[in-house]
Subunit: 254 residues, 2 copies
DNA sequence: CGCATGTTTGACGATACTCAATGTGTGTGG
DNA sequence: CCACACACATTGAGTATCGTCAAACATGCG
């Protein structure tokens, strides 16, 4: 259940919301310096959590939102039949726990995929503060709106796309998210297993594996275990079924 | 694009948020009388919209949230390839448009399934008011949290359930929503077509139709066109794959 | 170094899609 | 009020995609 010996590192580690390199991706995005400092005041930085550790578990009382500082995690829920369902993967700057806001308890477990540090944002204090800072209030709303849109894109993927399209879409989206965080968009390390990818995409592990193999032999990607390189982004986009999107011979009307 | 000749019916029709029969399902749920009156002040009731009419269209600038007063609608988006994807169905007391909050424009179209009236809630005014009424602010957040959880349940359905389980789950969920609104939970009229159901559930029309037929011949339901009767809820729950849920010989531990 | 966990590959089969034809209802206009 | 057209719904036949089962292989952790 949350971070048991809570350690406020802000004063020690010299990091706070207004100077954080992730502020442009995180809650402080539209806050001025003073507002960010007030937000920082209620935020508690965690010590590093390790692979497999849970940030919160399904059913735990809802107390906080968490912003990821470094690392990555997955969220999953357990259905009636005891099966695991991966709901999402989260990277630095992203907010975890929003789904618990209205229900009093977290509807899923958040579990580290690697060594990860997070910022804990106690919700009652955030709620108070958001009454005083309209920009913060709007930013919370925006974060939730974005989550809703992501989920709906995911529903589209699950209900309309083939296995191949799903995997291609997944890889391109990861690529995008990495690049937004300043990492290479064409070469990165998958922090999740094939099993977790398959579960997330609604596919059997074997199907994910076969699709990776196929994309490799088509020279769209180079997949060496968890290391992944995108060597033909264009073809991967075609495979994702988004060919009619951003290209068309480099002419972009609109 | 929204409701062109906006007509404020509250004073005429003698309905307002504090007396609305849907207030327990809608934004006013946790507001006191005075607060509900202030909310009512910014809400504009629509004249009836007809089947096929659009409340807003994908790409329209985001201006308002809408609460359904009577009737029902579907939301859908058009993907890159021009295919329609039904995102959800909405019934009285439910809030439509939340997904547009952070993006400046509605990411989908909302289209009436039957004659429907809605309450329009201009977002800038709602935002202002939510700065003054903490309970309203929390209620908006709760509505969004609920939407996120619904979407995640939907993702679970799409990635893990068979056609039969999807259709059964869909019917039971409709049943629940109708019963929460004071309608019969075992006998109701489907306001959407088989095509729309299939699209929503990620199934071909034919599969939906076949599943209806199978459930009928198994005497779980009686389906006569759009009229639907659930005559064996228990078996339908089993078919939905939720058998280990609320029953177990009527003993409910926890 | 060894066991456990994760990954790949193959063979087979089932579920659900596509195509096609027929049946049913709804709304429109004569 | 009826007839017609159109959209919707149902049913059947054939097939493809993806899941299941199984086994070999790789990886990584203790």
């Amino acid at each position: 259940m949350s971070l048991s010996p809570k350690i406020k590192l802000a004063s020690v580690g010299n990091i706070n919301c207004s100077t954080c390199s992730l502020s442009s991706l995180c809650l402080p995005v539209s806050l001025n310096n003073d507002e960010a400092l007030r937000l920082d005041d209620i935020v508690e930085k965690s010590k590093p959590l390790h692979k497999g550790d849970a940030l919160f578990r399904q059913g735990d009382p809802f107390t906080s939102l968490f912003a990821i500082r470094a690392g990555s995690l997955k969220t999953y829920s357990i259905n009636e039949k005891g099966e695991e369902q991966v709901n999402g993967f989260y990277f630095p700057g992203e907010l975890v726990g929003l789904a618990g806001i209205d229900s009093g308890s977290y509807p899923m477990t958040a579990q580290m995929l690697e060594t990860t540090t997070v910022c804990e944002i106690p919700y009652t204090r955030l709620d108070d503060l958001s009454g005083q800072l309209p920009e913060l209030r709007r930013q919370i709303i925006r974060s939730m709106g974005r989550e809703i849109r992501y989920d709906q894109q995911m529903m589209m993927l699950l209900s309309q796309k083939t296995a191949e399209q799903r995997v291609a879409t997944f890889l391109l989206k990861l690529s995008n998210r990495y690049s937004m965080r300043g990492y290479s968009s064409h070469s990165f390390r998958l922090t999740m297993s094939r099993n977790e990818i398959g579960n997330y995409l609604g596919l059997a592990v074997e199907t994910v594996s076969r699709t990776f193999t196929r994309f490799s032999s088509q020279r769209f990607i180079i997949a060496d275990g968890k290391e992944l390189e995108i060597i033909n982004e264009h073809e991967l986009m075609v495979a994702a079924g988004e060919s009619h999107g951003p290209e068309c011979s480099s002419v972009n009307i609109v």
